[in-house]
């Protein structure tokens, strides 16, 4: 009797509060997941608009639209917003929606903590974006915040540091929640080595987060005390060293890259088998490769700083360790290709995106290998070649991976098929726009254009114009994405439970859309 009342009460609590209350106090993993996804989309648009300001200024040599100082604020905040506001939260949103459904859990392990970790983000980003309006403007020293330049910035820097602390706490709480969920809440029979790859990649990503984010928190705290409380961690005058900030920052920063890319690897490891109608090739080597990448990511950080004047032995060590990362990364790519091999493939939008991710990420991977080679990196370092490289990795890998995931699971979430034709158009526009934007930047970098400059010499004009044109196409195409998602939420062809005929896994045994509470009695995994 009491049990039924409790059930009913729960039901009432989570289902019926309408309006803002449902979202503000939600502890339901699906609602929180939805909020994360929408939040990251908003940040994607804001960060994208900043990128368009940057690209518009770079359309021609000379200063047309903005001052150099504002230009630097735009590049800096574009990076911070895209990394911490768009790329990280989108995968936390996916984790919230999917992990409980994929491992047969009723919800996340710590639902209330989950609510807090989401609701820290809107104030954090309000603060960060608000720094634009502070005296002296927003941080303009690059997202890497190297001192002494970041010591020179006005109070906008303090606002950004506070905002980053809040984002950091949010991701740490999110990660703790994800780890606890995966370790403690799996359905009976769901052994670790039976977990879907998306869950595996998130488990490892969450460990990377709890390891690296506190180090970032330390670094920016030292920056703050250097700015205001007389410490001299990064000031040569007080026995400190500005280069030390770079070491600490990149100790966080390199794992951060894998935090952004590993969940995307997880997504395509789900999608490729589905549309190849064939099990994932080399499951255990996939798990091993992800773990190896995660481990290596902690011993390669100084490859971001080959030009600071490290001793020879240091440069050799970081060159070798960085090159090593290409081995597990290669294993993953070969395994995906082997999964497609002799499959029975169809090419719905999620599959197109998965193939796009493998292809574009690989271009970024190869330029990454080139950047790893210390002697030639002396030429690439801090040029547009680096800009091209990390946009192939982060846009080509992370963001296309996120699109892949949304198209793949959207029918499950909404109960409606999205418009396949529009989805494909969105894919092609995005991929073409992305390549027109970023491919020419390789040439710009090789020919000698430094990054983070608002103006350039005449020889770089053509490729910059091309890049700006591509960016406009890329930006506008995302309006289509919003339309496709809205259309699928409102209606459309009913999705079956399994949605895709090659799909396997617990989430596909649930109705589409799934009710608010799923797997309240755990399923049995054979």
């Amino acid at each position: 009797m009491t049990a039924t009342t409790a059930d009913h009460h729960d039901d009432h609590h989570d289902h019926h509060p309408s309006g803002i209350g449902r979202w503000l106090f939600s502890t339901n993993h699906k609602d929180i997941g939805t909020m994360y996804l929408w939040f990251s989309f908003c940040m994607f648009i804001i960060g994208g608009l900043m990128a368009l300001i940057v690209r518009a200024e770079l359309f021609m040599p000379g200063l047309q639209l903005v001052t150099p100082h504002f230009f630097n604020q735009m590049t800096t905040n574009h990076a911070l917003i895209m990394i911490f506001g768009a790329a990280m939260p989108v995968f936390v949103g996916l984790a919230n929606w999917q992990i409980p459904m994929m491992i047969g859990a009723p919800d996340m392990a710590l639902p209330r903590l989950n609510n807090w970790s989401f609701w820290l983000l809107p104030p954090a980003f309000t603060l960060l974006i608000g720094s634009l309006f502070s005296p002296g403007g927003a941080p303009a020293g690059g997202w890497t915040m190297y001192p002494p330049l970041s010591i020179q910035t006005g109070m906008g820097m303090d606002m950004a540091i506070l905002a980053m602390h809040m984002m950091g706490i949010s991701s740490i709480m999110g990660s703790i929640n994800i780890i606890a969920t995966i370790l403690n809440m799996r359905a009976p029979g769901m052994h670790l080595m039976k977990m879907p790859m998306f869950v595996w990649t998130w488990l490892i990503t969450a460990f990377l987060l709890v390891t690296s984010i506190p180090v970032l928190a330390g670094a920016i705290t030292m920056l703050l005390t250097d700015r205001h409380f007389g410490t001299q961690f990064f000031d040569a005058a007080g026995g400190g060293d500005p280069v030390m900030f770079q070491h600490i920052f990149w100790f966080f920063g390199h794992p951060e890259v894998y935090i952004l890319i590993l969940p995307a690897f997880g997504v395509i490891s789900q999608v490729i088998p589905t549309f190849s109608r064939k099990p994932l090739f080399g499951y255990s080597s996939m798990v091993f490769a992800v773990a190896a990448i995660a481990f290596l990511s902690f011993i390669v950080w100084a490859h971001h700083m080959y030009t600071v004047g490290m001793p020879l032995a240091g440069e050799l060590f970081f060159m070798y360790s960085t090159m090593l990362i290409s081995i597990p990364t290669g294993v993953k790519i070969f395994n995906w290709v082997a999964t497609m091999w002799r499959g029975s493939m169809t090419f719905e939008t999620p599959m197109l995106y998965a193939i796009g991710t493998v292809f574009l990420f690989s271009i970024g991977g190869f330029s990454g290998l080139m950047l790893a080679i210390t002697p030639s990196d002396f030429q690439y370092h801090d040029t547009y070649f680096v800009v091209a490289h990390f946009h192939y990795v982060i846009f080509g890998g992370t963001i296309t991976g996120a699109f892949c995931a949304v198209y793949y699971w959207l029918p499950k979430w909404t109960g409606h098929m999205y418009d396949e034709k529009l989805g494909k158009i969105h894919f092609w526009l995005t991929v073409i726009g992305m390549n027109i934007t970023f491919f020419p930047q390789h040439f710009l970098g090789l020919a000698g254009m430094p990054r983070r400059i608002p103006d350039y010499s005449l020889q770089f004009t053509e490729f910059n114009m091309m890049s700006t044109g591509g960016a406009l196409l890329l930006g506008l195409s995302q309006i289509l994405f919003l339309y496709i998602v809205m259309k699928a939420i409102k209606g459309g062809e009913k999705a079956t439970d399994q949605v895709w005929d090659g799909a396997e896994g617990l989430e596909w045994t649930l109705p589409s859309p799934p009710p608010a509470h799923t797997f309240t009695t755990p399923p049995l995994v054979k």
Binding site: A109, L110, I172, N184, P214, V215, G239, F251, G309
Partner: protein, 184 residues
């Protein structure tokens, strides 16, 4: 029953993870002393210069001559001018005295401090200072010109490949409080 079991293991997992997070935050700070130790070992950033004020003499190797050149820069906010010591040629083991000349351009007392750095880095650990103006803050009265001495020698074990050593000082304005010892 089962639910409370899961809840308690969730609590346990999060407690461990939280502890780990705090530990990693501390690790970020621990990187600073670790980095200093590292710098001293490899001789980066002037850390690892040997200090030996005992003035005991070393065997002098007259078969080798090493050029030691001096330079420096005045950092923003310090109203000083300086001229570095002239380039000298020394034998390993030999004790040499040189001096920088510093001038205060301001009409008030100004305290500065000098932070050393050596190139090539592999020479750092073989550079032995007996006396250096960088050991202490230096105060110059208004318009004062002062000779700032440096007494050093080069260790016999310095690698064969080192033929020239450059010693550079960055002069910073010191805090306006009393001239005390500096850590560098």
């Amino acid at each position: 029953m089962e639910n409370t079991g899961i809840a308690s293991s969730n609590r346990k997992t999060s407690r461990w993870l939280l502890l780990f997070v705090v530990g990693m935050f501390g690790f970020g700070y621990a990187l600073i002393p670790l980095y200093d130790v590292f710098c001293e070992i490899v001789g980066v950033n002037g850390k690892g210069i040997q200090i030996d004020t005992s003035n005991q003499s070393l065997a002098i190797n007259r078969d080798r001559t090493i050029a030691v050149e001096f330079t420096g820069s005045i950092m923003g906010g310090l109203p000083w001018d300086f001229s570095p010591a002239k380039k000298v040629f020394v034998h390993p083991g030999e004790t040499v005295r040189v001096a920088y000349l510093a001038t205060n351009l301001a009409s008030t007392d100004v305290t500065g401090k000098a932070v050393p750095s050596i190139s090539p880095t592999k020479a750092t650990r073989y550079f032995i200072k007996a006396e250096c103006f960088c050991f202490n803050n230096q105060t110059l009265a208004a318009d004062e010109q002062k000779e700032m001495p440096l007494v050093f020698k080069v260790d016999n074990d310095i690698p064969e490949s080192v033929k020239t050593i450059t010693l550079s000082y960055a002069f910073f304005r010191a805090e306006e409080t009393e001239a005390g010892d500096t850590s560098s």
